[in-house]
Symmetry: C2
Subunit: 384 residues, 2 copies
């Protein structure tokens, strides 16, 4: 096991009706900025339930955070926070809103006005942020219980990640009933995204870490076990939605990934696909991951074999290479069974692998830092 530091101070309130905790959690604050996306929370009742907990407060609103939150939009919110002396921000939405609020909260306290520096330095210079809480409506990114964020900047075709120990939510309300109104596309993304969060950590070097491996396998098996009912039947079973929601949070709250190598190459290439062609984040992951695993098969052999036997139930007597290919095949089949496309050619876009590779944040990629720009072009080409 590698040495590690683990720190996650987010207070999670999980379950139906837990929005009631907002009242207590916001007690010490007076000027609240409610940040949300396209307005779906006004149709599904979440907006009203949140406001009902904030009586007596000065509540300001900033709506219109896009999927893949856009730098230029967030700058406008930073201005509101500063002008209105906001003392807490509430992110009501999914990963894009939460990621956006992390940037807004940090930028509003930044030591200069060059907020793009936050992204260029991956958050290293953040020393403070406005406190913020989360009311989650879409399980997927794990952003509700971590300090990471990914921000897009359209004019540069870039998508950049940052994080800081100052950008953890103070609290997060996770109510599985809030997921009942999600459209199928979001349900698919909500299974694929956490699935790949796990594999970016689990499918790396085998360092004999049974706690981390077992936790990862548990999250993967849980996602697989709920996916058909959740996506194909759009089941509103509360237990099913709860297990999905809690699996998605555990995929990226830090616990499964301590003391091991991390990959994140699929995410890096995927971010660039999204920035260039507008694919949903999870759509890009479902396409890149299987081809990247094939490309890195020898490096990931142990864990791909473990993936095959312990997640997909394959015969442990098979040879490891056979198991590795079988794991990839079964995963791709699983993705397709829940409506996720696994080839770029299935979308109405014309992909230029060199262009995608050029806007990847930085090379080399992967847990072995061995994926070059040429490798990325090869992986993208294989993904067409």
């Amino acid at each position: 096991m590698l040495n590690f530091m683990l720190y996650n101070p987010v207070k999670v309130y999980f379950g139906a009706g837990e929005v009631k905790q907002l009242n207590k959690e916001c007690a010490e604050y007076k000027r609240i900025l409610l940040v949300y996306g396209g307005g779906s929370i006004k149709h599904n009742g979440v907006y009203d339930q949140v406001l009902a907990q904030l009586t007596g407060k000065e509540v300001f609103e900033f709506s219109g955070i896009e999927p893949n939150p856009e730098y230029e939009t967030l700058l406008k919110a930073v201005k509101v926070v500063k002008e209105q002396n906001i003392d807490i921000i509430l992110a009501v939405g999914g990963g894009s809103v939460i990621d956006g609020v992390k940037f807004i909260a940090a930028a509003a306290c930044y030591h200069n006005d060059d907020y793009y520096e936050i992204l260029q330095t991956r958050g290293a210079k953040i020393t403070k942020a406005i406190p913020f809480g989360v009311v989650q409506t879409l399980p997927a990114t794990g952003s509700e219980m971590n300090s990471g964020s990914v921000i897009s900047r359209a004019e540069l075709s870039s998508k950049s990640a940052f994080g800081s120990e100052h950008t953890f939510p103070v609290f997060a309300v996770l109510d599985p009933e809030y997921t009942y109104s999600l459209p199928k596309r979001q349900l698919i993304n909500g299974v694929i995204d956490p699935f790949i969060h796990v594999t970016e950590q689990f499918l790396t070097t085998n360092l004999n870490t049974p706690i981390q491996d077992g936790f990862s396998i548990t999250v993967l098996k849980t996602l697989i076990s709920v996916a058909d009912q959740l996506i194909n039947k759009e089941s509103k079973d509360y237990v099913l939605r709860s297990n999905w929601m809690w699996a998605a949070t555990n995929a990226l709250n830090g616990y499964i990934g301590v003391g091991i190598n991390h990959d994140w190459a699929t995410h890096n290439i995927g971010h660039s696909l999204t920035a260039n062609y507008g694919l949903d984040h999870a759509q890009s992951l479902a396409i890149i991951a299987p081809r990247l695993w094939e490309h890195q098969l020898e490096n990931k052999l142990d864990k791909l074999a473990m993936f095959a036997t312990q997640v997909w139930g394959c015969d442990p007597n098979m040879d490891r290479r056979g198991l590795a290919y079988l794991a990839i095949e079964k995963t791709e089949k699983f993705f397709r069974s829940v409506g996720a496309k696994t080839r770029l050619s299935e979308y109405d876009i014309k992909v230029d692998p060199s262009q995608v590779a050029n806007t990847v944040f930085a090379y080399p990629l992967g847990e072995h830092a061995n994926i070059t720009r040429d490798d990325a072009i090869r992986i993208i080409t294989l993904s067409i």
Copy 2:
């Protein structure tokens, strides 16, 4: 899944040499109280390594915290904290030292001088505590990464648990190499104690919670996988010690037990056995748990069967009752294989079940609140 709140702000530094983090973590403090037990840290080098990180600080010491930390002893430490205006306490040791420091830290800030009220109210009235950090030398209790504590009071033959969101360690240093000098008795306790921490949470009502169940199963399997090498061979393999240490922490840091019912009846009866006859905490658990599971077999049928198939590899085609008995049999056999006794009569004590039952904290016990004083007497009698 039941509604839950999860909050764990402990900053964990894990790995060889991580004692170096003390310097940074104590930077803002000036007057430090080092609290430890019988002095083994002076023989194994930990004491010197800790002090080396605290140069330039005013360091005070309080040693002699007993196994099962004693109320009267802790009062003396509270006096030191107040008289010397201590601004951070460092607990260097195992669960007893850490539990003791939690009490000291809370009592030193308590609103009145009736510190026993902290135990009588289970910590409900704690509003503040002196900040404290941990350097762990004995993996077992999980106290290094939670807010709970168990304190003994000899004159009342009592052992009482308390906890508060103010009694989380600020940080905890977990260095697997610090466990190399532990005697075999502590190695045994260090496997049994976390094992039962898991079963107190996992072997309860089946609420269809695959994340929690999978995490619990992972911790149990990891403990089983390391036990023979660790205890019978006293292996000093770093990877083995790391997996043991991290398993023990995860057994009781809150994550595996969210949204499910908890039992803790084995602990309650075990505490009373320790208070009356001086058995080690883990020794009491290894004796009570198997008999309590038999007594509660019908209520725990689902989970005992899951325990049998997923931890012990039993044939899932067997009937659930047969599986449940098999799980208990295999667990008891495992305990004995690593030197843990499972009958009271194996110790040189004469047990009075009524006396033990009388000093249990409060009835009814168990996740169904169905274990009465008479049931406890029955379980203790069966354990002889």
